[in-house]
């Protein structure tokens, strides 16, 4: 039977004991993605992730727009983390056009991308909380991220989808008294994060559900090529902000957060520790930022890149985010490949879920720091 189908479709014979479950794409527990899970009783035998329900063809769209028109639609995959997804694109276009970014713009970029990382991580933390039955952890991050969104709104003019980063710098300068406002919000934010620690991360119910489930060893993490918090929770010290510092990250003092356990608890804790570190980065960037100067180099209208290729990557909220830009000398990119952390991390899902209880599926799945829309692009 299987030979009659094109290679895209294959059917499998079912065992009598094994039952197949479709989780998603409408089920909220799987995001915009289908998980084809086979269970034997309560235990998961195999898992087949099936993404693609929110595929929008960003890479194809990018081939038909010029370098500046590409900005608004490229941030749509992760609207909460839009500065970080535009970061590698801007770096790649700048390298292609040979543009040098002003010093002040580089610091503003660092502040914006760290604020964005916190906003994204708070959203993810809320979802992680509600799927483990912890309603307080859904309400609190959703409310507290509004304060950070207010900062970004004052900075960029939009709550989400900022379109703030452009090749050549950032779109506009920060408003007056911005520094005081950021410092005030950050001190409140850090106070709240400590409360999260008490109510969520030290919660015995959460620990019993997440500790020891879905263990990813260091060797497997390297072999599967996962990235971001999944990689760092498995004991691999790899953060692109340290390893391949872009813009001014080499001037800023901060530490990479690494845990060794590799289970769901460690995976959910690394983004939290990252948020605390982001606060330090923002403070440090504010002290080192030049007080005046331009924030943007004006590009020529409809700039043409030289016939060349560039691969640039940054550390986003979900791990390494790379863009491979091929130009043939026309104002549009000839090819733009977006390599995102979410897409690289789902590869480990079948290995983590094998032999796990079905009830632990959300704990493992959401601990991957996975954003389905970004994975599909």
């Amino acid at each position: 039977m299987t030979t009659q189908f094109p290679p895209g479709i294959q059917l499998e014979k079912e065992d009598e004991r094994i039952m197949t479950l479709n989780i998603g794409p409408q089920h909220p527990g799987s995001g915009h993605m289908r998980l084809i899970i086979k269970v034997d009783g309560d235990y998961i035998v195999s898992c087949d992730p099936d993404p693609g329900y929110v595929h929008r063809g960003e890479e194809k769209m990018a081939e038909h727009r010029n370098y500046l028109l590409n900005i608004p639609h490229l941030e749509r995959p992760v609207i909460h983390d839009s500065c970080n997804i535009l970061y590698p694109y801007c770096l790649a276009v700048e390298e292609l056009l040979g543009t040098e970014v002003p010093e002040r713009a580089k610091y503003i970029r660092v502040i914006a991308s760290e604020l964005n990382r916190c906003v994204y991580t708070m959203y993810w933390l809320g979802i992680y909380g509600i799927f483990l039955g912890h309603s307080t952890m859904f309400m609190w991050p959703m409310a507290d991220r509004e304060l950070l969104i207010d900062l970004l709104e004052a900075m960029t003019g939009a709550r989400v989808t900022h379109s703030f980063f452009i090749p050549g710098g950032v779109r506009n300068d920060v408003p007056p008294n911005f520094e005081d406002r950021v410092l005030r919000q950050l001190s409140y934010f850090e106070k709240r994060l400590k409360e999260y620690e008490d109510i969520f991360y030290q919660n015995p119910v959460l620990k019993s559900r997440t500790e020891g489930t879905g263990i990813l060893s260091r060797e497997d993490a390297i072999r599967l090529g996962v990235t971001g918090s999944v990689l760092r929770s498995a004991g691999v010290d790899f953060d692109l902000r340290k390893k391949e510092p872009y813009d001014v990250y080499d001037n800023i003092d901060f530490e990479t957060q690494v845990l060794k356990e590799g289970d769901s608890y460690a995976r959910s804790r690394v983004p939290y520790l990252d948020m605390l570190e982001s606060c330090n980065i923002i403070r440090d960037a504010l002290t080192k930022m030049p007080t005046s100067g331009s924030v943007r180099v004006k590009l020529k209208p409809n700039p043409k890149g030289s016939a060349d290729e560039v691969y640039r990557r940054v550390e986003s909220g979900r791990g390494s985010l790379g863009m491979y830009l091929v130009s043939n000398g026309t104002p549009q990119p000839y090819r733009l490949k977006i390599s995102v952390g979410s897409f690289r991390n789902i590869i480990c899902l079948p290995y983590l879920l094998k032999g796990e209880l079905l009830g632990n599926m959300p704990a493992v799945y959401w601990s991957l720091n996975y954003w389905p829309v970004e994975a599909d692009r």
């Binding site: 294959q10 693609g52 040979g98 026309t330």
Partner: protein, 257 residues
Amino acid sequence: MGSSNSTKKPAKARPKTKRKASKKTKRKATKKIKPKTSKKTKPEVAETKPEVAETKIEVAETKPEVAETKPEVVETKPEVAEKQVPEKKPTEDLPKFEKSIADRIVSSFGTKAEIGYIRPNRIRINTKKEDIVEIAKYIRDELKFDHAESVSGVDYPDSKEIEVVYHLGSYTDPQLSKQILTLATRVPREDVPNPGKDNTRMSSLRDVFFSVEFHERECFEMLGVFFEGHPDNRRLLLPEDWADLPPLRKDFRIKGR
């Protein structure tokens, strides 16, 4: 001072008139291509040229397309290239560490591996599709690159080829954490694709780098490159009943564009 100002003024005014003239001549040039216009637009083109001159050798296939769209630019191209290529040729500027890695690959494979470029933190190796598994094994075992960051396909309908580009990185070796090794190969492209059954195929690197599994599945559905030896050659993002061309090929058109 007054005299110097008076001498400067006409000098400042000159480029403005030149620009205006060049704009006018450009518009005219669309109707009738005059030989004079190429001379006037020269200084503008020359500013952006040095980068083009560097990369000309690497991406040679894209040239004809430029030639079709902008005939003016092509007139000035050869002159600039002749002047500036010899200046930039000396290999002393090449980063040493990256060059040592590339040299190790070339010394052990000879003509099978060809250096695309060497830049700070980036190396590109071009190879034939028959040799790619052998070279990838060497890169994994001897050079300690341990995972693939992305696998991208680039469609070149003019030369009837599809380029498959692997971006490889390393977690284990701290020296290599900055480096991205780009391993590229080309597979033949057929005008009427029949994904999985036609000639557009190459051997999979999944046994060498386990992390390419999903990336190769994506490349298969988006460009129709079949990876032999891949255990799971199903579609990933596209619907299962997709019957059109592979969407990232250049002849697949977006509606309304």
